[in-house]
């Protein structure tokens, strides 16, 4: 097997923006406020895990997807830390699971993500 011209799924690193928004309901946004559990500052998507209480007081563990580290200009692995309070807006997974594509984020530590739609 010979290989020549290189095309990419990846840009500079692992599979940048490798999936579309098909899994998310992009017809409306949801707003959540919660407490950061972890930030995964990795390719192909940075992901923030946070816990949020619903109207009944039940705690749900959310996973919010964002762009790659390259896209989150100015962010580092410590831009969000455990215990930070975050207000997020995004598209929730169509199947009702606690996943969302984050379009904007504001953290109690000052970190913000503005109107990020992704380039999927």
């Amino acid at each position: 097997m010979k290989k020549t011209i290189i095309i990419l799924l990846a840009a500079t690193t692992l599979a940048l923006a490798h999936h579309g928004l098909a899994a998310f309901d992009t017809t409306k946004t949801v707003d959540e406020k919660g407490t950061v559990v972890d930030l995964h500052f990795v390719n192909p998507h940075c992901i923030v895990e946070f816990e949020s209480k619903d109207d009944k007081g039940e705690v749900h563990k959310w996973q919010g997807e964002m762009g790659s580290p390259t896209h989150l200009k100015g962010w580092t692995a410590t831009s969000l830390e455990k215990g930070n309070t975050v207000s997020v807006t995004g598209y929730r997974a169509k199947n009702g699971t606690y996943y969302m594509w984050i379009t904007s984020l504001k953290s109690s530590n000052g970190t913000i993500l503005k109107s990020f739609k992704g380039d999927n």
């Binding site: 097997m1 290989k3 290189i6 990846a10 998507h45 830390e81």
Partner: protein, 513 residues
């Protein structure tokens, strides 16, 4: 401006009769011995090899295998890279996934690393005019004077490093006995020796390797055939003395070898690798055998206040008599006693004072020191799964599956008291319970479709190609904490605009039939 600059560049004359005979039919040689294009470029062996392959495939050159080898050797030796130039690019021949973000000018990253690694571009050094001619062949690149200036400054033909190396390099004499340490993800540390004998022609060597796992004593014997280019670029193949089993990560598997040799010829480091996209391999370091030498320990960390910690010191030519006073382990760590010793292994017991400060310690025996060999810690703050993002691939009739081995590594936060920062203290691998989650899943019914994770952290994609990508978490749980790696399990090939694309490390490349 570019034309003016060009006037000051002097090419590297081509003197090899095979190169002149085979390349000179198209590339004219001037009265100074400069061959058009060839004299105005330098490259790694992989750079020249890929150029030769392209010329062969397009029918622009007809050569025998020995002629190809001779041309490759000559060009890599005389139009190669200096050790200082090639070292930062070694992730390309070593076939490592490498995050290039921040490693170069953003324009270069956007221009070059969109389609291939930046190292592939920087493994060539050219005059501005040659870069201009080269870039003109990249139909997807918008060529401008700014871009030519940028890449000419980043990868110029003339450099102090090459000038210095070209005048002092000599045929590498690597014959003799070397001491090896090797790490294989999931299998841990190995130690052993490498015997190098001269091959049939200058720059060629035959190798015999003995490695022994520090964890379980598993032994590996390998033999290989190596070529050394430009006095410091080790490239070759080796195979295990035992037939590799069915396990894809069998360390007896046939492997390619790429190593960088230090300018003084005393050390080597690199990777020996195999697999569908070279996902398995040893990270190898070698040093010339010379007297009593510490190579490795069987443990990576000790807790503050712990007593009677048993540790094995692995090495070579240890003294016949060793006392606890002969070993130093840094502030707050004392050697309580020596339990046993042989020429290649010392078993000792160490105590760590309850007032010791967290941090790394050197271990020294006589004149041999292992820098930062052990970590002294008081708590585990988090565990990290390495690699922290990865890809695996389903197989099909023509492509074997791409697997992935993970390791759970324990960490203590550093003096800044924050997690995931540069001052955190790595404590070494930690035994973990492994599990996986598929993104957006409502239950675990998709697990069988995607693959499985073993309790040694080895991810195996499902045997049947699921025909679509899945994103999953590979999760390690230990000490009540979890660490996660983001894994994309992808299809083996896909069709786009009439071409077939296959997985290659972290990207897709067009497959030639």
């Amino acid at each position: 401006m570019l034309a003016a600059l060009l006037l000051f560049f002097v090419g590297i004359p081509v003197t090899d009769p095979t190169v002149i005979a085979k390349c000179g039919t198209c590339h004219k040689v001037d009265e100074q011995g400069n061959m058009q294009r060839v004299s105005f470029a330098r490259a790694t062996p992989e750079g020249w090899q890929s150029l030769l392959k392209r010329k062969l495939r397009s029918g622009q050159i007809t050569i025998t295998q020995p002629e190809a080898r001779a041309i490759l050797t000559y060009l890599s030796d005389t139009h190669g890279l200096a050790p200082e130039e090639s070292q930062p690019l070694m992730y390309e021949p070593e076939r490592r996934v490498h995050d290039e973000t921040g490693s170069a000018n953003e324009t270069l990253l956007k221009t070059c690393a969109k389609c291939h690694t930046l190292a592939k571009a920087l493994s060539w050094r050219r005059t501005p005019d040659d870069w201009k001619q080269f870039l003109a062949t990249h139909y997807k690149v918008k060529v401008s004077d700014d871009l030519i200036n940028l890449i000419s400054e980043a990868a110029p033909l003339d450099t102090p490093q090459w000038s210095s190396w070209a005048s002092r390099k000599k045929s590498a004499d690597l014959t003799g006995r070397w001491l090896l340490t090797a790490h294989m993800q999931g299998r841990g540390q190995f130690c052993g020796e490498l015997l190098v004998k001269a091959g049939t022609s200058p720059g060629e060597f035959l190798t015999l390797v003995n490695l022994r796992s520090i964890n379980d004593g598993y032994t590996i014997e390998r033999s290989g055939r190596i070529a050394v280019y430009a006095g410091h670029e080790w490239r070759g193949h080796s195979k295990g003395a035992n037939m590799a089993g069915s396990s894809p990560d069998d360390p007896d598997s046939d492997a390619r070898e790429a190593m960088w040799i230090s300018p003084d010829g005393s050390r080597m480091q690199g990777r020996w690798f195999w697999g569908q996209y070279q996902e398995f391999g040893f990270d190898v370091t070698a040093q010339r055998a010379s007297g009593s030498t510490l190579l490795a320990l069987n443990v990576a960390s000790f807790k503050i206040g712990s007593q009677n910690n048993r540790v094995r010191l692995i090495g070579d030519h240890f003294p016949a008599k060793v006392t606890s006073a002969d070993i130093t382990a840094g502030a707050g760590v004392t050697v309580r006693r020596i339990i046993s010793n042989s020429p290649s292994e010392i078993v000792a017991e160490l105590d760590v004072s309850s007032s010791a400060q967290p941090g790394r310690r050197d271990i020294t025996l006589a004149n041999s020191t292992l820098p930062a060999a052990i970590a002294i810690y008081d708590r585990i703050d988090y565990i990290r799964v390495m690699p922290d993002s990865a890809m695996a691939a389903f197989g099909n009739d023509t492509h074997i599956r791409g697997f992935q081995q993970f390791e759970a590594i324990a960490y203590q936060r550093g003096p800044d008291n924050r997690l995931h920062t540069a001052d955190d203290l790595e404590l070494g691998p930690i035994k973990a319970v492994w599990s996986m989650e598929v993104f957006y899943e409502t239950d675990t019914s998709q697990h069988d479709i995607v693959g499985s994770i073993s309790q040694t952290g080895f991810f195996t994609p499902a045997a049947k190609n699921a025909g679509t990508n899945y994103d999953i978490w590979v999760i390690a749980t230990a000490n009540g904490m979890t660490g996660k790696s983001y894994v994309v399990v992808t299809i083996p090939t896909y069709q786009f605009q009439g071409r077939t694309y296959v997985r290659d490390l972290d990207r897709w490349i067009a497959e030639e039939q």
